[in-house]
Symmetry: C3
Subunit: 397 residues, 3 copies
Amino acid sequence: MKKIKNKEDLNKFVDKIKSQDGYKEPIAWAVARVEKSFLDEEKTLCANYAVINYKENYASFAVLFWALQECGIKVDTKGSEFVAKLDRDVVDKVLEIFDFLVDEVDGNSHKNLQNFMTIDEILSEDGEDNFCATFIFEDKAPKSVESVYLKLYLLSLGKVALRSLNLDGAFGVLPNVAWDLQSKPIELEWLKENEIWLKMSGAYPTILSVDKFPRFLSHIVPNDSVRVLDSSKVRLGAHLADGTTIMPGASYVNFNAGTTGKAMVEGRISSSVIVGDGSDIGGGASILGVLSGTSGNAISVGKRALLGANSVTGIPLGDDCIVDAGIAILEGTKIYISSVEAKKLQEANKEFKFDKEIFKGLELCNLNSLHFRQDSQSGKITASYNKKTVKLNENLH
Amino acid sequence: MKKIKNKEDLNKFVDKIKSQDGYKEPIAWAVARVEKSFLDEEKTLCANYAVINYKENYASFAVLFWALQECGIKVDTKGSEFVAKLDRDVVDKVLEIFDFLVDEVDGNSHKNLQNFMTIDEILSEDGEDNFCATFIFEDKAPKSVESVYLKLYLLSLGKVALRSLNLDGAFGVLPNVAWDLQSKPIELEWLKENEIWLKMSGAYPTILSVDKFPRFLSHIVPNDSVRVLDSSKVRLGAHLADGTTIMPGASYVNFNAGTTGKAMVEGRISSSVIVGDGSDIGGGASILGVLSGTSGNAISVGKRALLGANSVTGIPLGDDCIVDAGIAILEGTKIYISSVEAKKLQEANKEFKFDKEIFKGLELCNLNSLHFRQDSQSGKITASYNKKTVKLNENLH
Amino acid sequence: MKKIKNKEDLNKFVDKIKSQDGYKEPIAWAVARVEKSFLDEEKTLCANYAVINYKENYASFAVLFWALQECGIKVDTKGSEFVAKLDRDVVDKVLEIFDFLVDEVDGNSHKNLQNFMTIDEILSEDGEDNFCATFIFEDKAPKSVESVYLKLYLLSLGKVALRSLNLDGAFGVLPNVAWDLQSKPIELEWLKENEIWLKMSGAYPTILSVDKFPRFLSHIVPNDSVRVLDSSKVRLGAHLADGTTIMPGASYVNFNAGTTGKAMVEGRISSSVIVGDGSDIGGGASILGVLSGTSGNAISVGKRALLGANSVTGIPLGDDCIVDAGIAILEGTKIYISSVEAKKLQEANKEFKFDKEIFKGLELCNLNSLHFRQDSQSGKITASYNKKTVKLNENLH
């Protein structure tokens, strides 16, 4: 093979690979360091990605595809996903092709090349570490720890929209492990087997959590305007948009859930819940999720919402809505709307028919400018027109 | 003394010890590595047990009893508990007796012997470490850090039922300490005395908590189906049955409290509270405890209960009960039951007399199939018959 | 200069410094170890103080003032604050003056001198570390990371009362950083730049939080009777009085907020909220803060208050008040007070006029002995006279 000397050579080389039978471009691909089980060295417990490719960088993919092939690994592009072990030979092959680019590499450019160069360096020093390449060809139910992690990264990094990926069966694929201080997974069985020695020698590891999912902050570098006051509160797979603050009280953001704009979050954003820009989720406020709580409707909360302290929201809300502190608006909650308020609400919700006085929560899904209250003298839950615009405290951002 | 060569020799030897005056078998016993105060080397701050014996393994106990005696330590079996320091001489004596079994030792067998062998190894290398044996002869108010810890382990490991042990005065016995990253206790006074050096040299330790109790996950290896997303949420002395998940939002499980079957826990399980199999404790739900909240009745929640998000439960509940999101059912809450619902409830609660329309919470203690709601138009709190069976999401387990 | 041999010499020397033009005594001053940015070595990310001086120890200040001057650093006493870098020359100058006292130094005496001696020792070994002296001359909006930290320490240590310091713009001054296991700040940008190497080598740091504020327990040694079960729950700048317990469920104490006496805290103490002695803040109870929630009134909760589980308090409360579990008392909440209860309440609130039946929450601010309830049959929120005295469980303290 002729040495690749420039971009043009590379393009020709890549075109040749792309024309091969069985070549197919993945939706997403990335290279990971994987943590293996102490009990079964074939078993992956966790994958760490630094550079994630989503519908991009197919030249690098093609070269990797070729390098694997050269080393005897045929990437099966017919399945929905493929995980290939990366050893020195594969990485060397890749670097051989990209050699002409090495001098161009700096901070933010050629991230995939940087990744391969770094792995090469690590493998030179210590062949013990485990690396792999993960390819997702179709968005079907994930089959490997590596592909679940890749999907969780895609969500957390905002490469794809929340709720847009197939995560069916992810709970079954991920092993339940103890996460130690270094955010490394340890199997509970291994801890049991080694308990006597670890305890008696004073070396029993501090376990921060036992879960199938790792923590968001163990994998994702948030943008500068994001704050997470307690790493335990956000699972990998959550997405926190710029300007999002997660306070440490009763808050929580599950995987496949999060914010799409700046938000102050002191409550629970359950799995599949999406919170819009400028919203304030008050202390202890609960937004019910699909995993337990609602009848299966994923809840979105619109822009500039205010969910009061200890309120509960069980229906999707449009923009500019308020749920007062301490009240629960569920699918079956009966809500009174006076004709005066109905008239005002009509303006903000042209399509909706306010043709009665009592509505069920489910009927009011996704409407704008609703202010839910409980009359403190009659106990009546009402919805009225919200004329205030909720504003997050700028000082806090 | 003749060398013990086999099980038969051992039995004879043990029988001889058992026939001694002053010999008595403890309810529970175990060997611990103890962490001592930096300020007073006599003072135990924390005990780590790997193998716990509850009404079992009395041959090992007898040998230990004898070994201590041989080394001049007379175990006082008349008190409710006894803590003996274990040095190399004691451990060597024990191992002398069990020498014939050493080759048989593997993974799960002869755990006490493994424990002694491990201590022997550690003491050979570094005599600095501290080990003790703790014996509990009677379940009275604990007098030592070592016996409090042993009782907390018995509860957490499910060797005894929750609420079945005497823990009176445990708060007074346990010192309040700072727990560092390695889950080791540091006295606050020591931190104050060394603050200048620690701060100026950049070596001030990260403190994860300041408490009398350690964290559950620093001492207990949970079963594979248990998840605890934030180690701060569960104190040692809590019991988490198989299939229990503790989410990181507003949840919490105190010592001497927990679950007896699979459960999704996003709320607070206060001290002395027991939650039954198949129950769902919603986000921010509070179950009041005996330490503060109720008038002293320990609350049990039955099987297949659903405590809605931000609900409060101040009375014990039978099976198949629901408390709707956001409402509080306390001892004094007046609850309306219509005659139609009373009839249905009668089926599920044969013994109870539904002879009126308004009940106080306290009167409805432990009944089955109650569904507590607040009418959102009248503010009236009602109880009706719950016909739904609460089912935990199987995907999550 | 003549060597200072005794207290008398020192006093004379100090008097001479004090008489200088431009000399001015700061309200507060202290010496810090500072953590600098990896990206810009001039930028301070965090300051660690061990000894804090508030309107005290001006002899030590004067000597430091002189030492800085001798080393060419003129302390600008006209601005509201000044931060001076401390190098070996400065520290040596200070120690030269205090040499006669060195033999007197022990545990609790001459803390400032101990601090300088410790820095001297550290700088001798490794000149790399960064130290500074921070002087606050006027309580204006803080301009530096060092002065914000000094103010947060003053609040947390109880040297000044909560809400008594000017913290305007503190959010803007503090950088948002990732806090690692050693409680050291890391810039998010640095993490991004080094992500590939850190992830691929398995050395990506465990991040405990991303926030502008550090955790209380990373800087403050609490008194022996204080418990904080989860370090993430309390920001530096909070004050926890003796006998305060912060449980790990839904609780939280923000900066410039806290307790003034013993308290059981299982709920949220938002920024600027002060809770009085003997109070019990129930599980998930929310006290609204000035940063988001109230119309700007800082809320105080008086002595012996009981805020029930999942209650919400949006108005200041006097002594002996109870807010029942699950209810929200906000500024606009309409509250019914019967004439019978009004008569009893009048005794406890001589100044107040109970001249009607329905009050808004805001009208009842700061009154004593109010018991807020919701009638569970009519939904009516009422206030009545609280005759019970709330008592914290002594066993827990």
